[in-house]
């Protein structure tokens, strides 16, 4: 990228700090302003960010600063309103996931982005993990033949008592482990297999009380493809989030997680031989401008900033994230109806 993209970041939690750092580390862009309502955090950032202007509210930042792109890292309940204001001011937007609390109310933003030609990306960064991106390539090339079933999981040892803050307020976060972590695997399933036509969900809120800690979801796709998701942030033995997906087709099985891709094929397909093929991170990875929170975040932000310059495509836009949000809405609806089957709206 040769351009000098001026970036703003709204919300300086851990994701905001990460995007602020990456915006400054990636060639062709710079962190030009930040917005954070909490005065203490703004003051702390002054120690970090030397002369970067810091604003208390985003309207003031958008009025005062000529920005090309804005990273929106606030709680999900505020995403659509802030993104709409940014696009109206002529900015491209990157919105942290989840896109919103529900899919309802997202459509005007989709329309606005279409009318203005601005980029609207959503932070489903797992699409940029080397292993999952390779897995998608394998599925898209048809190596597995007709897909029959898939099983996904996310696990982390994180919550063993009631948490504090917006993440545990359903009104602000939209829910618990499903919308915070399981949603990444739901997004990967939609990306690799397509939108399901019906879903079921059972959940348990033992520790957090206000939001769910354990979920088990079922998915059905056209053509009798079935799938499941097992997600929890309250299991032992996982210091980091482990995400995994296993997809079985007529011609074999693909098992992928954050570290490896393992493929078993009954018959060779394209460049993949019959039998087992295994690929690990060192052989799939390549150089990055910087690795601050993990390579996938750098790749994601590079893709966004390249797209802002009119170079290349983004993997996760507001439209596809709205569809994922609808799947989540239907899953929560099912949980509220004791696990009853909920059909998805074809509009998504």
């Amino acid at each position: 990228m040769s351009a000098n993209i001026r970036c703003g970041v709204i919300g300086l939690g851990k994701m905001g700090m990460l995007h602020a750092s990456l915006a400054n580390a990636i060639e062709g862009s710079q962190l030009a302003a930040i917005c954070e309502p909490n005065r203490t955090i703004r003051n702390w950032f002054g120690t970090f960010g030397s002369n970067i202007p810091a604003y208390q509210n985003y309207e003031d930042m958008l009025d005062a600063e000529p920005l090309d792109a804005v990273f929106i890292c606030t709680p999900p309940s505020s995403h659509i309103q802030i993104a709409t204001a940014c696009v109206r001011k002529g900015c491209h937007v990157f919105i942290e996931k989840p896109l919103s609390l529900t899919a309802e109310g997202v459509k005007p933003l989709v329309e606005l982005l279409k009318q203005t030609g601005k980029i609207g990306m959503v932070g489903y960064m797992m699409r940029y993990a080397d292993t999952f991106s390779k897995a998608r390539e394998i599925v898209s090339q048809g190596a597995l033949g007709q897909v029959l079933a898939c099983r996904g999981a996310t696990k982390v040892s994180q919550n063993f008592k009631a948490g504090k803050g917006w993440r545990y307020s359903r009104k602000e976060s939209g829910g618990g482990v499903l919308i915070a972590q399981g949603i990444h695997v739901v997004d990967l399933m939609c990306w690799m297999i397509g939108m399901p036509h019906s879903v079921n969900l059972r959940s348990n809120s033992y520790y957090s009380k206000t939001v769910e800690d354990f979920v088990q979801a079922l998915f059905s796709w056209k053509g009798d493809i079935i799938g499941s998701l097992d997600s929890s942030w309250s299991v032992d033995g996982h210091r980091m989030i482990l995400s995994s997906l296993e997809i079985t087709g007529e011609n074999g099985t693909l098992a992928v997680d954050d570290d490896t891709v393992r493929l078993f094929l009954r018959k060779a397909s394209g460049r993949y031989a019959e039998g087992w093929t295994s690929m690990s991170k060192p052989e799939l990875s390549n150089g990055l401008a910087a690795d601050i929170g993990g390579p996938l975040y750098t790749k994601q932000d590079e893709a966004f900033l390249r797209a802002v310059c009119g170079q290349g495509e983004i993997e996760s836009d507001v439209r596809s994230a709205r569809s994922v949000q609808h799947v989540i809405d239907c899953l929560y609806k099912s949980a509220g109806e004791n696990g009853a089957t909920v059909e998805l709206d074809k509009e998504y």
């Binding site: 030397s50 210091r239 991170k281």
Partner: protein
């Protein structure tokens, strides 16, 4: 004061970190959840000439530090290199409670005696303090378990080093250098996974011969932005370089790693992980040749 150890035993295997397989990492962590197994491996390494031990400020490091303290051979001869903070803990706490509550909770975790030692007064709100005062208190808390042991250096975790470099937070970098040296009598050092960016920034702000830890391996794994650029920085910018990820998470053989590292001028020390006595002996032999370490078995 600098780092005198040529070979340093890494800690990832003790805490379940495995960049090739998280599942394998969990299995190794189970074995090393018995502190005696940790000490046994550290002793084997020490007797094979691995005079340094890297320890992150993981929850379990306190038990390991206690065991080292009561071992006369290791407590007198082994040097500790502390990597702080243990990021996974803070990320988890920030997810659980938000950034400010996370800091308040962390500072509350100190015992009464620790709070006195740090100078935290009862009822003093964390949020009223300036960032550097909070960082000073956090560093003290993180280092408390290692008091009385031979702490030779303190490395800043790569996520923070690289964030400081990206944001060009020179005031914080200089604070860390001064604080570790003057308050803790150890050598301040920086771990990085963005060697090109960070070393270039350090050079621009005029840091002279900083102590760095960065990946160097023939696969180019984690060598950012590229293997070539990292090699060039190593060549151009004088620093004490501790090579890490030398086996690229097990993707390259020890012999290939040693051949590659020997071809580079400027690797002063090597940190490596191993999970068995046989493995640690083999690696200390093979990698020791790179840094001119004589095996003392």
């Amino acid at each position: 004061m600098g780092i005198t150890d040529k070979l340093i035993l890494g800690h990832n295997q003790f805490f379940g970190v495995n960049h090739l397989s998280s599942a394998r990492g969990v299995a190794t962590e189970q074995y090393f959840s018995n502190t005696e197994n940790v000490i046994s491996l550290v002793r084997t390494a020490y007797r094979a000439g691995v005079t340094g031990l890297m320890l992150s400020t993981h929850e379990r490091a306190r038990a390991i530090a206690e065991a080292l303290r009561s071992d006369s051979e290791l407590s007198s001869g082994l040097h500790l290199h502390i990597l702080l903070p243990y990021m996974a803990k803070y990320v988890r706490m920030a997810n659980e409670r938000g950034s400010i509550s996370m800091l308040e909770e962390t500072l509350k975790q100190a015992t009464w005696a620790e709070r006195m030692a740090i100078g935290l007064k009862a009822g003093t709100g964390v949020i009223t303090k300036d960032l550097l005062a909070i960082l000073a208190a956090l560093i003290k808390i993180e280092l408390l378990p290692f008091k009385g042991l031979n702490v030779q250096s303190v490395f800043l975790h790569n996520s923070l080093t690289d964030m400081l470099a990206a944001l060009r937070a020179t005031e914080v970098v200089r604070f860390f250098l001064k604080n570790i040296d003057e308050e803790h009598g150890a050598c301040p050092a920086f771990c990085t996974l963005s060697a090109g960016l960070t070393m270039n920034y350090f050079r621009e702000i005029g840091l002279e011969t900083p102590v760095m830890m960065a990946p160097f391996n023939p696969a180019g794994f984690q060598m950012n932005p590229s293997r070539e650029r990292c090699e060039q920085m190593l060549h151009e910018y004088p620093c004490h370089m501790v090579a890490m990820s030398v086996l690229a998470a097990g993707y390259v053989t020890p012999a290939d790693a040693a051949r590659y590292l020997s071809s580079l001028a400027g690797i002063d020390s090597i940190v490596f992980g191993a999970s068995s006595a046989g493995h640690v002996t083999e690696l200390s032999n093979v990698l020791g040749t790179v840094v001119g370490q004589t095996v003392t078995q």
